[in-house]
């Protein structure tokens, strides 16, 4: 029995150790929490984390990054409530589903926490929940702009590889693209899942079943990287029109190699960096820009890739 008790105490100590370390590592100054909707597996958010960390360092404020591990938005609502309960100076959060998140965000605002909406959501929704501002790229508009551009390049059908089908903003990108092209979305959007080999095989299967497809649209590195491999394998690389949202190392290489025609950069770095800077200055000096900030869309093509190349996956 005694050995059991010893084991119990040992286990407790092991478990508790990281907690004690973490609690002592808090800095002085304002505290801001960034809540995202991204599941743990989404690598794109690394840039956001880096931007957040850099802003925290430069402004000398305490920052924290939170996300629902599985991408469940109901869990995210709880995280926002929790963030509000811990009494930070401000919360920076995505608004990927207004219905689910508006309640907790509004409650946070009303209990005295300043909120900036980043990434997902619309400027209109941000205003409705009482946020200071919106920093990001309106998804539908970005998709629409991309669609218009593709139309000009002669595209009339496409495949949208949606790796995050449960997020409305992902679907909006595809829908906007279809509307920009002036065609029905219909079955051209596939639910690819998050697993790279699954995505690759689904893309190959779709393209061999629908050989008349003009273009491929991916929604980020998660779907773009495997799609690049798929196109390599079925020989369509460089032949089929390929546009993607967001940037990443492989995407940059793809653009350089001419496989990807363009990438839509919403500059996630700014989405995390700017809100921290804006809020810190607001809390320190009471100054606040009078408008929302559009961090994107910017089309990145083979021209002018130098900086992007240098910082891809880190700050770009």
């Amino acid at each position: 029995m005694t050995s059991l008790m010893k084991k119990l105490m040992l286990a407790t100590a092991v478990v508790a150790a990281p907690m004690m370390v973490a609690t002592t590592a808090s800095a002085e100054g304002e505290k801001y929490i960034l809540v995202s909707h991204a599941p743990d597996s989404d690598s794109w958010w690394n840039t956001v984390k880096n931007g957040l960390a850099l802003a925290g360092d430069q402004m000398d404020v305490e920052i924290e990054y939170r996300n629902p591990p599985t991408g469940d938005l109901a869990d995210m609502a709880r995280i926002i409530e929790q963030a509000a309960a811990s009494g930070p100076d401000g919360i920076i959060t995505t608004l990927s589903d207004y219905e689910v998140l508006s309640g907790p965000i509004q409650a946070a605002v009303d209990s005295g926490v300043d909120v900036i909406i980043m990434n997902s959501g619309t400027p209109d929704q941000a205003r409705k929940v009482g946020a200071l501002m919106y920093v990001g790229q309106p998804e539908y508009d970005a998709g629409h702009a991309a669609g218009l551009r593709a139309k000009g390049d002669g595209v009339s059908s496409f495949l949208c590889v949606n790796h995050y089908i449960s997020s409305p903003s992902s679907t909006e990108r595809c829908q906007g693209f279809a509307d920009g092209l002036g065609i029905e979305l219909g079955n051209q959007m596939i639910d690819s899942g998050q697993d790279p080999s699954e995505i690759k095989n689904k893309v190959m299967a779709y393209l061999s079943a629908n050989p008349e497809t003009d273009a491929v649209l991916t929604l980020g590195p998660t779907s773009a990287d495997p799609t690049l491999l798929a196109l390599d394998e079925n020989g369509l690389a460089g032949d089929i029109y390929f546009g993607t949202f967001d940037l990443g190392e492989e995407i940059v290489k793809g653009i350089k190699a001419g496989v990807i025609n363009w990438g839509i950069d919403q500059q996630p770095f700014l989405q995390a960096y700017l809100p921290v800077v804006v809020m810190t200055n607001y809390h320190r000096f009471g100054v606040l820009p009078g408008n929302n900030i559009n961090s994107g869309p910017g089309f990145v093509t083979a021209d002018g890739l130098e900086k992007v190349d240098l910082f891809a996956g880190e700050y770009r």
Binding site: A16, M19, R66, D72, A85, G87, E99, S111, I165
Partner: protein
């Protein structure tokens, strides 16, 4: 029920008298009780000034724990009856989506949408159970199939009908409905208003709700959790049916030979799990006003983990609803508490794994003591 054995019964020299401590150890709830004490002690020490124990913070981890409790009760009873249900998480997504489609897309009254969804969920639970008892296949496989089937429908239906994967507007549809508040409402609002006025709990500092308490009542979610735990506990320990649940999971064949309707028990337990998942889903949909295709991901494992932390054996035949509820409480408090303590969120999984491992080792040890095997 344990009375001290009378001296006359101690005639057999082979029976060693057991210490009280050992006696106390042979309870399925033990792990849960110890764990709860440890977890609360730690967080009181390391996170007491972080907002974890103010009204908002308490409500936060209570709600998360209550969610786990609701599905843990079903999973616990089913596990004691000797089966698993891996489709719990998908059922949460599916049931929520059905309510949203019925009430928003089809325009049915919300009470009807809720009732039909419950009926549908119970039917799917019964089908799960029926397939398991009829084919004799492991429930692990059968419900794994339903994990995919239900999740697939949860994505397919809204996508084909509404071209999106989240259906909102349930809150508006539920306005004035008589059944919806039973899941999405709050009670004791007067008490909380009074506490807010008296300055005991925090109130909103600005906005339209200025002066109102930040925590303005106990959500029905928590009431459901408590009611289900109490009912589950009574059912399991105090009724004939409870004895049958233990028997069905302990050794189905022996139970059959003594006349226990094992198949019926198992099918009913699958239906109970489905019921609990639907309660979870309904509360969530009513609170957030929308149903999403990604709701409930991985919740089946969270339910099973809570049950195992609570002392139930994965092999069935042994466990406790109270234990499972404590397991859910530990789970919820740790998950939310690590945040308050300022721990990097990815460490939550490490913590969870350690607790799980520890709970399983403790459970195995306890079982060996019960059955006397070595």
């Amino acid at each position: 029920m344990s009375e001290a054995p009378s001296p006359a019964l101690n005639g057999d020299e082979r029976i060693k008298t057991r210490s009280r401590f050992r006696e106390a150890l042979i309870r399925p709830e033990l792990g849960g009780i110890v764990g709860t004490a440890v977890v609360f002690t730690l967080f009181l020490l390391f996170a007491s000034d972080s907002g974890m124990f103010n009204s908002q913070g308490i409500m936060n981890w209570s709600q998360v724990s209550a969610q786990f409790m609701i599905i843990a009760v079903g999973a616990c009873l089913l596990m004691i009856a000797g089966e698993f249900d891996l489709s719990v998480g998908s059922m949460i997504g599916f049931a929520g989506m059905m309510i949203a489609i019925f009430s928003v897309t089809l325009g049915w009254p919300v009470w009807l949408a809720i009732i039909v969804t419950f009926a549908l969920a119970l039917a799917i639970g019964a089908l799960n159970g029926f397939i398991v008892v009829r084919t004799g296949l492991p429930s692990f496989i059968v419900t794994l199939a339903f994990l995919f089937i239900l999740r697939g429908f949860t994505i397919y239906f809204p996508q084909t009908i509404e071209r999106k994967t989240i259906i909102g507007g349930v809150k508006d549809a539920a306005e004035g409905d008589w059944l919806a508040p039973l899941f999405g409402g709050k009670i004791f609002t007067g008490l909380f208003q009074w506490m807010g006025d008296a300055g005991i709990i925090a109130v909103f500092e600005r906005g339209t709700r200025q002066g109102q308490p930040v925590v303005d009542g106990v959500p029905m979610l928590i009431i459901w959790a408590l009611v289900l735990v109490v009912l589950g506990h009574i059912l399991l320990t105090k009724t004939r049916f409870g004895n049958w649940i233990f028997a069905a999971g302990g050794d189905a064949q022996s139970a059959r030979y003594t006349g226990v309707p094992v198949n019926r028990v198992k099918i009913l337990m699958f239906m109970t799990t489905a019921f609990c998942a639907t309660v979870f889903a309904t509360c969530q949909v009513m609170e957030f006003g929308s149903a999403g295709a990604d709701r409930g991901l991985l919740k089946e494992f969270e339910a099973i983990i809570a049950v195992v932390i609570g002392g139930a054996l994965l092999t069935g035949g042994y466990g406790s609803v109270i234990g499972a509820a404590l397991g859910a409480l530990i789970f919820g408090v740790v998950q939310q508490g690590l945040f308050f303590a300022g721990v990097e969120s990815s460490l939550f999984r490490v913590f969870l794994g350690v607790i799980l491992l520890f709970a399983v080792i403790l459970n195995t040890y306890i079982r060996r003591m019960i059955t006397g095997e070595r």
